[in-house]
Amino acid sequence: METYQGKVRLVIKNYPYIYRDYSHLAAEASLDAGDQGKYWEMHDLLLKRSPKLDRQSLIGYAKELRLDVKAFTESLDGKKHATQIERDKQLAVSLDLYNTPTFFINGRKVIGELPFENFKKIIDEELKNAPR
């Protein structure tokens, strides 16, 4: 992202896999942190610490990021963002997605964790072709 400062925007949709224990909870945690202005900090931390994403670990991460832990825990336990996550899941299903991560780069579908070079190629093409 730093390579393309100002030229590229990244938008996250949650597609927690239904049969994994903590996928849904971790998605909740990321959005709860977002409520306190630290979505990306939590996003990075979750990816780094995955698969250690049980409730206690998530609360620990909230502490680590100096969030208001009480508010965070209430949101987490209350599944405050369940509707938003469900909406993302429905969207994924409607797009026939079966894998994460799946990317849409200006609408072009890219499936899986690819080397940066692959992304760079598509992004550069798009930067060249997209209307200013």
Partner: protein, 50 residues
Amino acid sequence: MKRFVLVVLFFLLVTQALSDEKRFSVPLNDSPAYGPASARVTIIEFLDFQ
């Protein structure tokens, strides 16, 4: 000769279809976003943290 022309035509059509990569329209809604809305490239990532 006629058959040859048909085969060439067919390949041209297939190549054309493959190069026209499909573009999906994905609504952004209020999903977390990093980078300016004016960015010329938008990457939407569907992710699972686990």
